[in-house]
Symmetry: C2
Subunit: 152 residues, 2 copies
DNA sequence: TGTAATTCCGACAGAAACGGTCGTATACTG
DNA sequence: CAGTATACGACCGTTTCTGTCGGAATTACA
């Protein structure tokens, strides 16, 4: 759980790829898909979605394709994920404006909202640019793996 | 996306409930389920899982039920979620030990591993106790809602 | 000893989400 | 007009999630 969908991954990869090729006025969905071995049609839909959200600019016809709508530094991972996976947020409760419908009780979400905020913050702090130059900040995270799995 | 499963929610709620009733030597799955309107059988399985992971102690028979295995301060949300939802972690890639199978390319996961770490850290910093006394630390997070939804 | 309460556990079913494909319409280039 | 692309909706198979059912083992208590 708590993992991104493949779509979101694909989206991030695609944007990263675009950021790495600023010389190209546009890259087609197929170009990017081939570069990573992603199903082309699926990626196409993802890029269309990102275009609708204003993160990309598209251009049909020959030599058409997609390009970043803004500087890679100005596009956050948060926006990409939000665009593709939709509004998410930790608690199953948090739907729309009204809290939990069933429970008068779901006091859980209050502290969890902070977690939410933190995650969103981290995601917002990471730009496509950071992904492209993938030796960004931070201490490598060698032992980020205490996912030793109690079970499953 | 990025949201907890209902099971994890239920699990957290249940532990919180147990933490709020330290006077009881044990509470049955049904007790907790009724308190929140959660399907009893489902909650039962969740509590069994938490028991297997060592977060709860169970006792069968009349007046049996579940109790926290440790002090509520010593049980983190991280452990609960890990127990119920299993090892998760951001990138779809990160499976087992080997990285992405398809892509020689998935350089994305490197920066995202940091995000992962951060999230895990936050989750670990929140104890069941924090949930129980739900006026814990932190600045309320009033405007934690910029989930205005670009789409969907 | 018997009965009720309760955990334990596996199997299964319905529903939703995910990942991916297909077909077609539309737009742009030359 | 022909070719290259995006745009978009419908559909499908698989997996995951949520929840239910049925039965077995355990314990308390009268």
């Amino acid at each position: 759980m708590l993992k991104l969908t493949k779509k979101a991954d694909y989206g991030l990869m695609a944007l990263k790829y675009l950021a790495e090729h600023p010389e190209m006025p546009a890259l087609s969905a197929k170009d990017v898909a081939d570069a990573y071995g992603i199903p082309a049609q699926l990626l196409a839909k993802i890029l269309q979605q990102l275009t609708k959200s204003g993160l990309l600019r598209s251009h049909a016809g020959m030599n058409g394709g997609y390009a970043l709508a803004r500087d890679a530094r100005e596009i956050s991972a948060f926006e990409v994920i939000l665009s593709i996976d939709g509004p998410f947020f930790i608690t199953s409760c948090t739907k729309g404006k009204t809290g939990c419908e069933l429970t008068p009780s779901c006091t859980i979400k209050e502290p969890l909202a902070r977690v939410n905020e933190t995650i969103a913050g981290v995601l917002k702090s990471i730009s496509i640019q950071d992904l492209a130059e993938h030796e960004s900040p931070a201490p490598r995270a060698k032992e980020s793996q205490q996912l030793v799995s109690l079970n499953r």
